[in-house]
Subunit: 262 residues, 2 copies
Amino acid sequence: MIGVFDSGVGGMTVAKAIEDLCPQLPLIYFGDLARSPYGSKSSEVITTCCCRNIDFLIQQGATVVVIACNSAAATAAETLRRQYTLPIIDVVTATVEKAAMASTAGRIGIIGTRATIRSKIYEARLTTVRPACRIASQACPLLVPLVEEDWLGKQETKMILRRYLYPLHQHQIDTLILGCTHYPLLGDLIQARIGKKVRLVDSSAEAARHLKEFLDKNPEIGSNMTEHERQSRFFVSDSTGPVQRLADRIFGRPIYLEKVDV
Amino acid sequence: MIGVFDSGVGGMTVAKAIEDLCPQLPLIYFGDLARSPYGSKSSEVITTCCCRNIDFLIQQGATVVVIACNSAAATAAETLRRQYTLPIIDVVTATVEKAAMASTAGRIGIIGTRATIRSKIYEARLTTVRPACRIASQACPLLVPLVEEDWLGKQETKMILRRYLYPLHQHQIDTLILGCTHYPLLGDLIQARIGKKVRLVDSSAEAARHLKEFLDKNPEIGSNMTEHERQSRFFVSDSTGPVQRLADRIFGRPIYLEKVDV
C-alpha cells in the first residue's frame, strides 16, 4: 500500500494528483490535524511528528511513504530516510527536478511556509542540479490559514498574495515553485498576480509524477495488495467542519475521514 | 506557585496582566507551541493537550492553574475541574462576570476562535448571569495568525477586522468580549472599527483580576514559596523566531523561553 501523510488536508492535493495519475492505486492517507500546522514549527518538532505518522502508516500496511508536506519534506526527509528502510518519496525532490528543467532563464522563485523557506532546501538542491540559476524565496505563512478558511476569492487574499509575490516579481523570476501542498488551490490567483509568463511548478503534481515513476520501476510494490486493501482510506488525528469541507472540495466528492489517536 | 498555560504565546497577555496586578507573584508559564493553535481543533484534542499541560505545571510546583486560553477554557475547563483537585482559574468565568456588569443595554458581542465560538460557553454563561441580554458572536479564525505574523498595522488586517466586526456592528452591541488572549494586541484597531461607544472587555485583564481576588481570599497559596521559586519561568514545547519576538513584545523586555518536551 502507498502511505501518504501531511500535517493536515493540504497533502490531499497530492493524494488527488496520485489518484488522477494512477486511478487503480489505493492509498492510506494520514493528516496530522491534532498537531497541524507544521509550517510554523521547528524542525525537531516536525521530525518527531513525522516519525509518529510513518509508524502509523506502516502499521496500516504501507510499504512506500509519500511525504505530502513541504515543511516535513524540507526539514525531516533526510533524517527519516536514515531511520526507516521503506522507500520514502517526498514533494521536494520531485519538484526540484521539474523546476530546474522548466526554467528558461534560470531565475526561479519559491514560496512556502516558514519552515520550508528557513530550511533553504530548495536553494541547496536547485544549485546542485543547475549551478547557474538565481533563486529568490518568500515565506508566505498566511496562505495556509487563508486556504483553510476558504477565503480563496476574497479581496484580502488577493492583497496578501500581491504583497508576498511582489519581491519575486522584482527578481524577474521565470519559474515559481508552489512549495506547499495548500498552494495549488491558489494556483489561478497566483498566476494572475505573478504574470502569465511565469511558469508555476506545482509540488503536489510533481510528487504524484515521481511516485508513478518509482512504481513503474518497482512494479512488485503496487501489485501485492489484498482485496481488503483495494480502497483508499483517509485517517486524521482530529476532525472539524472546515477540514471536512476542504477535503470534499479537493476531491470533488464526499471523503470519509476516520479519526484516530496517534 | 501559580501555573499559567496557553496553546502558545497569546496567554502571555494574561501572564503580563498578572505581573502588572501582582508584581511580587512569580509564575510558571507553559506555551504548548508544538501543538498550537488550539482554536481550530476539536474539544477532545484540546482536552488531551490541557491535561498534559496541567500535569507539567504541577510537576513544576504549581498549586493553582490559570487557563490563559479561551479555546481551552471554553471547551475543557469543566472536565479539567472534575479531573484535578487544585484550583483552576479560567479566562471565561472572569470575563463573563465583567461583561454582564459592564453592558448598559445588555447587547453583548463576542469574538473568538472557532473552538470558543462553537462551544457557545459565553452565551450560556451570560444568559445565566443576565437572562435578558442579547448576544451576537463571531468566530475570527484569521486574527491569531495575523497577530503571530506581527501584521498589526497592515491594511489587510484592518480589512479583515472590519469584515469580522461588521455583523456585530449591525447588532448594535454596546459591549464586546475579546474572547481570545491574542486579541488585546489588536485592542486599538478593534475599538476604532467597532466604535468608541462600545466597551471592550479584555479576557486577559479579567483573568488576572480573578486570580488576584482568589489569592486575596486564599493568602496561604501565594505565601509558601521557596526562594528558588521566587522567579517567573517561561516554558514552551517548541520555539521559533516569531514566537520569541512576540513574547518579548508582550512583556516589553527579553523573555527567556525554556524549551521542554511535554
